[in-house]
Symmetry: C2
Subunit: 188 residues, 2 copies
């Protein structure tokens, strides 16, 4: 109780996602997650507000990482290239070691309307943050809103592809392919 | 009661949106909407399942109209141009006469997280319908998902612009401008 546990956060995450997959999200209790992780419920609440947070923990860090990448792109970088840099940088969160977790997480979210809504809201918040980041770079409307929304569109398609069954390419490869397809398609 | 009322649906919509703006969405009851419309609550429920439906009524028709436009684009039309045709066709729902209603609706939705979520889900459903429509046209992945997601991105930015304060251009003009900007931005 209260003592330091090596990688308690990671153990809770792994235990929760296993249980969500085995018995369903609704049926999984914090007590069961703690038991599976070999830790206590009290320790769980030091890391997460509730079981839903296990799935969405880290989304603020992802957003901040993308906003930082946008801000740090050289001043002469075009709006599209600056957002592309942010999309590529998001790959820090999606290395291949995390893909099994991301796949399970994705199937849990797809099966639960409330979680799906939360995911959509997260994307809308991320889009708004990118709009703001583009404005700071001096990008006017409608370009800022348009480029941010298109960037999020690419991000969602890339992420869905990355977690899809039997996909082996890295997130970064997928993003770069999609950005290339987007340019080719827009050019007609 | 039960007898035919001229444009009852339109009167309920107008009354509801007025009340949402005046006293707030949460505070507005179906009884108050019916009273304002000069009709009965019983008649209200012949048109809408609940007060939320007043705001989202018609979204299935919008989606069907866009899917039909996609399906009817000539076979040689590129995926981007076919989705562009669907976006332009959506303008049938957004003539200038409806703009004041759309503006009020938008501010009500922005002020209520539950309604905002519902709107996000509607957009996700519309995006999935466009992906399906593109697949029927023989567009493979990742192009189908990418073009649909980008199309929805353009649609959302166009709609937000159309309902924004002091905007006077038509929805069609805004969509065409954004499609042009998108091509220019993607070309670098």
């Amino acid at each position: 109780m209260g003592r330091w546990e090596p990688d308690a956060e990671g153990r809770f995450r792994a235990a929760a996602i296993e249980l969500f997959g085995e018995i369903g999200y609704e049926q999984t209790t914090v007590a069961a997650i703690a038991q599976r992780a070999g830790l206590t419920a009290r320790t769980f609440f030091r890391y997460f507000a509730d079981k839903r947070e296990v799935l969405f923990h880290g989304s603020e860090r992802l957003q901040q990482t993308m906003v930082d990448a946008l801000a740090h792109a050289p001043a002469e970088t075009s709006p599209v290239d600056a957002v592309a840099a942010a999309l590529v940088k998001a790959g820090d969160f999606f290395d291949d070691e995390r893909r099994p977790f991301a796949r399970l997480r994705n199937s849990v979210i797809a099966a639960n309307p409330d979680l799906h809504e939360r995911e959509l809201i997260k994307m809308a918040t991320l889009s708004a943050a990118l709009v703001q980041g583009l404005r700071v770079r001096g990008v006017d409307e409608p370009d800022a809103s348009l480029v941010a929304a298109v960037g999020i569109a690419v991000f969602r398609v890339a992420f869905a592809q990355w977690v899809s069954k039997s996909e082996r390419r890295s997130y970064g490869e997928i993003v770069n392919e999609l950005l290339g397809r987007l340019r080719a398609l827009a050019a007609g």
